[in-house]
Amino acid sequence: MNMVRNHVLISIDANTIIAGARAVEDALIKEIARQGLSQEIVVLETGSVGIEDQGVVLVVYPEGIYYTNITPAEVPELVEEHLLKGRVVHRLMLKETPKRFVITKEKTGLMKEQPRIVLKNCGFINPESIDEAIAADGYQAAAKALSSMKPDEIIAEVKHAGLTGRGGAAFPTGLKWEFASKVDNPVKYIVCNADEGEPGTFKDRLILEGDPHKLIESMIIGGYATGATKGFVYIRGEYELSIERLEKAIADARSYGLLGTNIFDSGFDFDITVMKGAGAYVCGEETALIESIEGKRGHPRNKPPYPITAGLWGKPTIVNNVETLSNIPEIILKGAENFKKYGTEKCSGTKVYTILGHVATPGLIETEMGTTLRDIIFEYGGGIKDGKRFKCALVGGAAGAFLGPDMLDVKMDFVNLREYAAALGSGAILVMDEDTDIVDMLKSVLHFFKHESCGHCVPCRLGTARLVELIDRIAASKGTSKDVEGLTRISETMKDTSFCPLGQSLILPVSSSLKYFKDEILARVQ
């Protein structure tokens, strides 16, 4: 047996494929062979490693070094320096600065100013300094809420503001809090969902890395409003920097008396624990997440009962997304009316999007609900790269829909998009230019689902397996038109019968790709 010295993981998913992951993989294998290292170095494909905004990503084990934005040109240097000589290439190593990824007016010379609620401080304050956070209005909303508002006043304000969940399901947050507050139980929990497993999404990570105190503050308010005295933040395990910053922020908040007992002299006690996820997409689903916190296997639970009546350890539990929560301080501080000035009638406020793929300026933006896809791509994203033409965008992550040119001018919010059989989901926007192979894209989406299906229910476990067989055949030009029909039939069955939304939502990418590109797909089969 050979001694394997290093494993190089290359992340292959929809957006790294667009960034050229296949070419890098080929170059890597060739270069390793050329330098005579094939016996000692193993290259493995892996799904998303949680870094979606930085081109092709490699992880070298056992060191655990992340290299980002790799192109075939850098491969020889990497192989020679790191894999042969054992010297880390610092120039290519992952270095985090949220500022780099937040698209600003200055960066693109945009016409439009972005409203900033969630991302207000991101990139502007030092996230590791609680003093800077406080100087930027941090914890003021919590002070106001705890010292001058009653829980039901807070809930009324959040309800009135019309805030809906940004984790995908768009459930009205005020209503969720109200239900939870009315459940009679001395023990309640509030859980922040920072699992962010949707490929192409990294907004929660940047919010956490850029302004962790805002989340802490929001959870204090949420806990006070609903009667929960214990908070959990469930973070994707790969988000090492987020975890580190959040843990420091929590420790700092404790030392300032902002967490712990009798916060702001209100008699209210609250504390937060950080829990690391193990990288299963389904663990982002709130009940699977709860199982996972309980130390069990990440299977979704039956609903009802919903978490607000029986969640973590059977106690009432409020689960909210990072972005959802990060809106709370603004609502408390400036009032619901102010919040409603942003967005559409049915969905107020802003939405944070991650724009990736073939755009001139990939990155993170916050914009009003109701902004069109055209504005997002052409205003904020700087248009299609290299002057090519727009083909489509995958909106909402892997469980989202492909939107073609006819959708460019639709106002995007959670409610409106539903009418077009699409979903805003996590707010990921993956833009594709005219040269993109749609079959390849669909293939990577279906592989993602197969890999992430938890295996609990029949339609999803076996449906995804059969779908992958079909798409692989089609992609290899060995399929028939019956295989294309099979794609629809299976995903429709999954929509109607799957246990949880993971299996139910696969219909979106399948039916939308067939809606726009049926001819292109059929051209691939006999």
């Binding site: 039956n302 295996g455 609990h456 029949v458 995804t464 059969r466 246990f499």
Partner: protein
């Protein structure tokens, strides 16, 4: 209790009344409306994995699964629309895409059905080698009901190696549909936790974590997982190719004093398999490995004694019953009462025991009735039977606040008591264990005291408050723990002690028993005794015991003062003229005699060779009753004809007795024996309530010749170790040996 209001719902245009808190599926089933399902099962938490039970409900979006949706008043449900049918077919096709489905669509299907009735596997004829084809495959039934006759996917064979390394059942995960029933029954019903899911998505499988064998993972081999498996993925080694049973006979297990209900699966003259009865109020279907897997191989052992045999210088000669009875009668006639010894097994039925004592007392005129207890327990027999006669009903555990388990482990026996204890601990009762090795209850216990048996008496005294004399210095490191437990016990009102078989291996067992009886009387403790002498209470009640007359120990109106006995004159070394051993097989320990009659089903493993072998029928072959550990009279029902010439024990005793002294017994059938017993136990055998036993005050010296402490430590039935005839029990015995070392304890 207030009666809950019924709900009115409409299923497929039929309006019906149902109890609240049911799922739609349960409600439909109570009204005989069929909804296909593979993962839902009574007694298991709902799971919603197979998705075949989808229905439409007015006001609910999409197609909710009926197994997870609770009924509500006024609900309008449709279970069989065109759309639903299509969905079910599509889901089933997906399900079958990774299940070898040849049998479901096979052109030989009809032929296969014809052969399901034969003893050989259908595959021999049809060439199919995929599944046990024991007609229990629910997948076959569901496929038929859903009306699927072809599938659109090629069948993908997952190619998992079949797992055959554990005793009793095989596992072929190629047939597994991941319905999760086994995982749920193991975790939520048996509270065992051997099984879990491994991996994710399509490569998910079931098994113990870290690829251990079931034996290593602490599996009890209760077989619950096999029972609930809807396909052939889990199958019993011995019965899997045998096809369909043609009748089911409910009976009582005689392997221990719990007396679980066993549902014997019978085909012609064979017991193929044994299933639990989840509706049994006594055991809830929580049978252990012995009841589940150790019956068929024992009762159909190829070593069974086929016909009566007489010893000759050249070996045993077959003789007729007539000759055998004549010879026995001749040797017994005129034997002096104190030159006779009747040895009986406490695993016989009441009827057998009653006739045995009648034989000794009325035919021979002798009170020399002994049993293996005397050898196991010697002078401690008296206190021990007294403890047994004072034991409580098992259900005292159900609302106990504190449980102290001494020398007790329920991995391989006493499962209902063990599961009851685990449940109690889970709902918050304080569980404390004392043992010389780890037990399966320790995980749930407040404190597990693991120490040598010689310290148990002191520990029991301290914890229960029976006596603290000089005990404390023995446990310097546990000072705090003991004080803590003492405090809890003092505060609790509903307290139960489980005295396990390990107790019998403690050198000061009598002292411990005395302490237990003391705290029962003064400290408000209930006591459950888990011992290996299955029908010991029956033996005492029938008076098949030196010095105790039939019925004397049954405490009719609570006034009986207790039975006084005197075993001190019982001499187990004194030579006899004739010894008659019924279901007792350790012949080497018996005193010398001129003539030894051995009445049993299997030959003894002893050196000593009896003069006459009489083939006895087993509990599957004759009817009768037993009295379980809590004093209930339970029926033992005949399922098959006795092996070859074997006869029930009472029949043999009656025949010989009649030959010696006509007119004393005259029993033609077991009912006539029961009528005779009913003269002292009113209403026997139909009494439903627990029989109350009075105290036994036996003056005891170790009967002469009985060893002080005898180590045996195997599961046995009628003196024959189960492992000698049941293959898988060997692995179990080795496992116990490994875990407990030499400390297993007597019996």
């Amino acid at each position: 209790m207030t009666k809950e209001k019924k709900l009115s719902i409409t299923i497929d245009n039929r309006t019906v009344e149902v109890r609240p808190h049911l799922t739609i599926l349960e409600a439909a089933r109570t009204h005989n409306i069929y909804i296909p399902s593979l993962c839902a099962m009574e007694h298991l938490p709902s799971y919603g994995a197979c998705r075949l039970c989808v229905v439409e409900v007015d006001g609910l979006r999409g197609f909710p699964t009926s197994c997870t949706t609770p009924v509500e008043d006024g609900m309008v449900i449709r279970t069989d629309t065109g759309e639903i049918r299509t969905l079910r077919q599509e889901v089933l096709k997906l399900l079958l895409s990774e299940h070898p489905a040849s049998c479901l669509f096979c052109t030989e299907q009809d032929e296969c059905k014809d052969y399901q009735g034969t003893i050989r596997k259908a595959g021999v004829i049809t060439g199919c080698r995929y599944c046990p084809n024991d007609t229990r495959c629910e997948l076959q039934q569901v496929t038929e009901r859903i009306g699927l006759t072809e599938t659109s996917y090629p069948v993908y064979y997952r190619n998992f190696p079949v797992e055959k390394n554990d005793p009793f059942y095989d596992r072929d995960y190629n047939l597994c549909i991941l319905c999760g029933r086994c995982v749920r029954v193991c975790n939520s019903v048996r509270l065992n936790g051997t099984l879990s899911f491994k991996q994710r998505g399509k490569i998910t499988t079931v098994g113990p974590a870290f690829d251990r064998t079931h034996l290593e993972a602490g599996c009890e081999f209760c077989g619950a997982c096999v029972t609930v498996c809807p396909t052939g993925a889990l199958s019993t080694k011995t019965s899997k190719w045998y096809g369909k049973p043609d009748k089911e006979v409910a009976t009582t297990c005689v392997y221990c004093p719990v007396g679980c209900t066993l549902k014997l699966q019978v085909r012609k003259s064979e017991v193929l398999d044994v299933l639990p009865d989840y509706n049994s109020a006594l055991d809830h279907g929580f049978i252990c490995v012995k009841g589940r897997f150790a019956v068929p191989e024992y009762v159909h052992s190829s070593f069974r004694i086929p016909v009566p045999q007489r010893i000759t210088p050249l070996g045993y000669n077959d003789i007729s019953w007539d000759e055998a009875i004549a010879e026995a009668a001749e040797r017994l006639a005129g034997v002096k009462p104190d030159s006779f010894l009747m040895m009986v097994s406490p695993q016989l039925t009441n009827e057998d025991l009653f006739v045995a004592q009648q034989f000794a007392r009325q035919i021979i005129g002798s009170d020399q009735i002994g049993s293996p207890l005397l050898y196991d327990l010697g002078a401690d027999t008296g206190p021990f039977v007294n403890l047994v006669s004072q034991s409580s009903a098992f259900d005292v555990i159900d609302d106990a606040e504190a449980v102290l388990a001494i020398g007790f482990d329920s991995t391989y026996d006493y499962a209902p008591i063990g599961i009851g204890t685990k449940k109690a601990a889970q709902r918050g009762a304080v569980l404390v264990t004392i043992n010389s090795c780890d037990t399966n209850l320790d995980m749930l216990s407040e404190m597990a005291f693991t120490c040598g048996t010689e310290k148990w008496s002191a520990l029991v005294g301290l914890l229960t408050g029976a006596s603290a004399q000089g005990a404390a210095p023995l446990f310097p490191t546990w000072k705090k723990d003991i004080a803590g437990i003492q405090g809890i016990f003092k505060k609790s009102t509903r307290k139960v002690i489980i005295a396990g078989p390990g107790l019998l291996a403690a050198p000061q067992r009598t002292e411990i028993i005395e302490k237990l009886l003391k705290v029962k009387e003064k400290g408000g403790w209930d006591i459950i005794v888990a011992h290996p002498y299955s029908n010991l209470k029956g033996m005492l009640a029938m008076g098949a015991f030196h010095g105790i007359k039939t019925g004397a120990i049954i405490n009719e109106n609570g006034q009986a003062e207790g039975v006084k006995g005197d075993l001190s004159k019982f001499d187990l070394t004194k030579g006899c003229t004739v010894i008659y051993a019924v279901g007792v097989s350790d012949l080497d320990s018996l005193p010398d005699c001129d003539y030894l009659i051995y009445q049993n089903a299997l030959p003894s493993e002893s050196q000593r060779r009896p003069d006459l072998l009489l083939p006895a029928a087993l509990f599957t072959e004759s009817s009768g009753t037993v009295i379980n550990g809590e004093g209930r009279i339970l029926p033992v029902n005949k399922a098959v004809e006795p092996y070859r010439s074997a006869k029930p024990d009472w029949w043999i005793l009656n025949a010989i007795g009649e030959r010696i002294k006509k007119g004393v017994m005259k029993y033609a059938q077991v009912q006539s024996v029961q009528k005779e017993i009913a003269k002292t136990i009113k209403g026997f055998p139909g009494v439903k309530k627990r029989l109350e036993f009075s105290r036994i005050d036996v003056k005891m010296k170790t009967p002469k010749g009985a060893p002080k402490m005898r180590k045996q430590g195997q599961f046995n039935y009628r003196g024959i170790p189960l492992e000698a005839v049941v293959k898988g029990m060997k692995a179990i015995e080795e496992r116990i040996e490994l875990i407990s070392g030499s400390n297993r304890g007597a019996i």
